[in-house]
Subunit: 153 residues, 2 copies
DNA sequence: CCATTTGCATAGCTTAGCTATGCAAATGGG
DNA sequence: CCCATTTGCATAGCTAAGCTATGCAAATGG
């Protein structure tokens, strides 16, 4: 791969495609296999709520870059699991604030334990350099995610 | 991130989680936004067929690590789009061989053009080193994908 | 020749996303 | 103060994508 990153656009295209395809495959296999059940977005929402305390539905939708009705549905499923609850927003009768429950925290911990457990042993077999490469790639993919589809691209 | 990759398991767990979450987010944003329509698995199947010529449904399912009925459904959708066709397998009356059509090749090219076009400009802004990091990360994620969930783990 | 295995399809479910639309609460101009 | 607009969320209805369980026809083998 190192021989095609210096000169022309076709190398960029190839990298763009490979990155997209590989990340999708990896996420599906690492995050979904063995029936953890919910999507990555669900866990991201829980993780957000774990730190922020509570948030409104539309704010969650914006953060995760999904449409508002999609987030409504996800929150409903999470509420049905007992992982979040909704309370009326003081000062705005339309809005409701979504907060994580104790069960939600427990489920999140469990998910983290399982998901990490599936990937960790294979990470452990890599060299320090390869692990650092992956860690840096995570940062780069986060940057790219934010830039792609951003209005000010 | 570089300060936590040397000593204990919590660093590995953190990397495992971040890698899973970030790759999922990236794939969703890069591959799905702007309504390319089908999933990454669909395009991977087309790409496989482009190179292999034709394959059986169960072989495609194994390659993509999905259940056989899932692949049946995907092949039906692709067939409905006119992107693949099915012909009876000579020598095995139960099986049918799936092959890509000219329209399928065109659709695949179009997808590649769009998907690469969305990511490429942002890749172009990175340094050579960062691009090489991503290219190496692609290889590593492919390795990890193959090892995770493999019977002989 | 019949029992088992194999390849694929179907049925029925859940998750997950989308757009379009509805409704109630908040906001703001006249 | 009243009414039109905006805003926050829910609902309806669609498609895609995955799963398990099951059915059926063709191949295989004792």
């Amino acid at each position: 791969m190192a021989e095609e990153n210096e000169d022309n656009a076709s190398g960029l295209d190839a990298l763009a495609l490979e990155l997209t395809r590989t990340s999708g495959r990896f996420a599906r296999i690492a995050g979904r296999t063995a029936g953890v059940g919910y999507s990555l977005v669900a866990w991201r929402v829980l993780a957000d709520l774990e730190q922020s305390g509570s948030a409104r539905v539309s704010a969650l939708a914006q953060q995760q870059r999904v449409a508002q009705p999609s987030m409504t549905g996800l929150v409903q499923r999470l509420e049905h699991e007992g992982w979040v609850n909704r309370s009326p927003d003081p000062g705005d009768g339309r809005a409701s604030r979504v907060a994580i429950t104790e069960q939600g925290r427990a489920a999140l911990d469990e998910y983290r334990r399982i998901a990490a457990g599936r990937v960790r042993p294979h990470l452990g077999e890599l060299s320090d350099f390869d692990r650092a490469t992956l860690a840096r790639a995570v940062e780069l993919m986060q940057q790219l995610s934010e830039r792609i589809g951003d209005p000010r691209a």
